[in-house]
Amino acid sequence: MTTERKAPTCVDRRTTIKWLAATMVAANTGCSSSTKFLGDEIPAAPNAEKALLGVAATPSNVGYGTDPDLINPVVPWPRTMTDAQLRTAATTCDMILPADDQSPAASAVGVPDFIDEWVSAPYEQQQHDRELILGGLEWLEQQSQSHFGTTFSSANGNQAAELLDSIAYPDTAAAGNDKLIEFFRRFRYLTVGAYYSTEAGIKDIGYIGNVPISGDYPGPSTEAMAHLAGVLDELGLSLPS
């Protein structure tokens, strides 16, 4: 109900009271380092002639309405991304969440398709993200082709990482890359949110719930309470008796 404010990426510990006293504006002190991907604007609306990834279909303007069937949910709007956009999205989200010994890569659980569902939705937030994401993917492709002579999806790991690094770390990103930084942050946000709500993601992150319990709610496990006891000890706190 209350509007969540965006979290900055770095916050000093124990500064809360300090800046409350000082009336509270987080200073943006990102320092930049040079990069060869400097100063490239995000392509606003890749057009048919120039777009390396092709042009996405025009999104539908029909949402699911104010009384959708909640028991049998359907996504009423068609996907709009091109195959090339989806390939680039898959490469990017697999770099964000690659396979490891605990769980699969993002593309293996349908994250690129979710990105397509998201940017194809008719709502204002999603339409805003659409500009950002389709533009960002196109930018990755343009950079890859002009610097490495290959598509982003077939660039080698080091090249792709070099490119992504230039927009993934706000503290070291080149000045003027704000929009690209925003693209990456938003793309990562959606990738992560989509991934961890899949069965594989839930298993990986260790969410235990959404199952009925008979009798009283058992509360924290013995192990969890032992951990809490350690935390309280470290803080010099105790529970009221």
């Binding site: 404010r5 900055p8 104010t66 964000i96 990562r188 992560v192 319990i213 709610y217």
Partner: protein, 564 residues
């Protein structure tokens, strides 16, 4: 049915209307309930256990469903299609409505805190606003009865201005989660109470309603009846008496008056046909929500009441209040990598912080009047949805290290949420918009809303106190804290709007007496948040129901003795 004259015509089927219907029907009165929205059956329609991944956009809120795809709200949210409202220039007011049987009881947070002795006499205590025409003790028996029917978990802690319930009324509260215990320990050190919350959720069965099984969001509605909503309790109970008739898709726009100036029923539009229809009754009970009830009264103009029914005091639409809202979020390093267990619990609050500074306030040590309480958000290792992306924004980077960071940080965040009392002011009211009609041709509302200095000082106090709590727990505040002016919620945003037809003991300055009976029209009763004389920081639904029950007892007695 069209020709039947009912003992009572009730407009609205939510907390107030549901309670009035059940009380009156159970006393043998013939009751007609009119609901503007469609019929709704929580037993068939609630998406219990449905996974976010099966919903469009993983269930993320959109303008069609602002609180998420699975939220129970039907044909509503901040906008209802074809039924606009406006905010006056310089004001920003948000009005949450739903168009469904049971109204907003189908999705509310179920937080159920009693108002206390101070809350009914605020003017006596600090000289601001007005007193209620009743004291806490007048309502206490109905609080007990309401809690017993509704089913409320909580604990009697004997706290100042947070009244205990009678023995045996409350259900056992669920065990606190780790993060709630951590907050409790930190607060204990800072001399701030943190006690079991009170929520309208069963932890033991009542009749056909099951005890909570500690899964699936209450905001979706509850097909096992554990989380209170009128559609699984009051309405089925009232229907079982055989005395209640419910008509849905009936958009009431006017109270009908007879030639003696008494209420004779209501005029409504049958949405399915678009036709204007009449429902007639010996009494009329408006429980359409604070905004909608004021709208109906103001639109009921007649030669006798040119400013609207019940409005000879000019107070209809005035004194609009909402809860003061603000929030701060923090990450707690000591909660990282903690052992996993099922933290769904009763989904919402198990613990909360009740207002605790009454004595300091009485001694003049605070720079604001009235109180606030804390609720907590993002409690623990909850079901992942798109919002979990925030954790990645916090962690930064990408790749295998991000996956490890996700495991590490998941469940280490907490939101601290302020819910405070607003004092009524002359700049906050609603009125009929002279320029706009809805799709049914009914003149719509225009809202004016302003916070006063008192609410901003309250938010400042909340921010400073929260910073202390976060600091004591070794937390890292997330985001910058804006000024109180920027941090405070928008009017209506907390969805606790009340006060637009307040009760009092003087017909010149109030719309109804202590029983919700309008001074002008003695068989017209108001039975929702509109009658609130003040807006304690406590969530209003429980009080709406207790007042509705008390008013309905009175109404029935008046009918029985033929006083009406």
């Amino acid at each position: 049915m069209k020709n039947e004259r009912y003992d009572a015509v009730i407009v609205g089927s939510g907390a107030g209307g549901g309670m009035a219907a059940w009380v009156l029907a159970s006393k043998g009165l013939r009751v007609l309930m009119l609901e503007a929205g469609r019929d709704y059956n929580p037993y068939d329609e609630t998406p219990m256990f449905a996974a976010p991944r099966d919903a469009p956009l993983r269930g993320t809120g959109t303008p069609d469903k602002p609180f998420g795809f699975y939220d129970a709200t039907v044909d509503g949210g901040w906008q209802v299609p074809g039924e606009p409202y406006a905010s006056a220039p310089g004001s920003e007011f948000m009005w949450w409505r739903s168009r469904m049987l049971g109204g907003r009881t189908n999705h509310w947070a179920r937080n159920s805190f009693r108002m206390g002795p101070y809350d009914f006499k605020p003017r006596t205590r600090d000289g601001l606003g007005v007193d209620w025409p009743i004291e806490y003790d007048d309502l206490a028996p109905w609080y007990d009865k309401t809690e017993a029917i509704v089913g409320v978990y909580g604990r009697n802690d004997g706290l100042e201005n947070h009244p205990d319930s009678s023995p045996g009324v409350l259900h056992k509260p669920p065990a606190p989660r780790v993060s709630e215990l951590l907050i409790q320990a930190g607060c204990h050190d800072l001399d701030i109470p943190c006690v079991p919350a009170r929520r309208a959720i069963l932890t033991r069965p009542i009749g056909d309603r099951s005890a909570c099984f500690y899964a699936t969001d209450c905001g979706r509605g509850c097909s096992i009846g554990a989380a209170f909503q009128s559609t699984t309790s009051l309405l089925p109970m009232a229907l079982a008496t055989g005395n209640l008739t419910i008509m849905t898709n009936a958009m009431v726009y006017e109270v009908r008056l007879d030639d003696k100036g008494k209420a004779d029923g209501v005029n409504y539009i049958a949405k399915n046909t678009g036709k204007h229809e009449v429902a007639s009754g010996r009494t009329v009970v408006l429980a359409a929500s604070s905004g909608e009830t004021a709208r109906i009264l103001l639109n009921s103009k007649s030669a006798l009441f040119p400013d609207g029914a019940g409005n000879s005091s000019g107070q209809v639409g005035q004194n609009l209040m909402d809860t003061v809202g603000a929030a701060m979020r923090a990450q707690f390093p000591l909660l990282e990598n903690r052992p996993a267990y099922n933290e769904d619990g009763a989904m919402g609050l198990h613990m909360y912080i009740p207002f605790w500074l009454y004595q300091e306030q009485a001694r003049g040590e605070l720079d604001f009047k009235r109180g606030y309480h804390y609720e907590f958000g993002s409690i623990g290792r909850r079901e992942p949805g798109v919002g979990l992306g925030e954790v990645a924004t916090f962690a930064g980077g990408y790749g295998r290290s991000l996956k490890e960071d996700m495991r590490r940080y998941y469940g280490s965040f907490l939101s601290f949420v302020c819910r405070g009392e607003m004092i009524p002011n002359a700049g906050s009211y609603c009125e009929i918009d002279p320029d706009t009609k809805d799709r049914w041709g009914i003149p719509t509302l225009r809202f004016h809303f302003k916070w006063s200095e008192n609410e901003l000082k309250m938010v400042r106090h909340f921010q400073e106190t929260t910073a202390q709590i976060i600091d004591r727990l070794g937390g890292r505040l997330q985001g910058s804290v804006a000024s109180p002016q920027q941090s405070i919620s928008r009017g209506g945003e907390i969805i606790h709007e009340v006060g637009t037809a307040r009760m009092g003991d003087n017909p010149d300055s109030s719309v109804t007496n202590q029983f919700g009976q309008t001074w002008d029209i003695n068989n017209l009763f108001l039975s929702d948040g509109s009658v609130f004389a003040s807006k304690a920081h406590k969530n209003p639904t429980l009080t709406i129901m207790a007042l509705a029950w008390r008013s309905s007892d009175y109404l029935a007695e008046q009918l029985r003795t033929r006083a009406l």
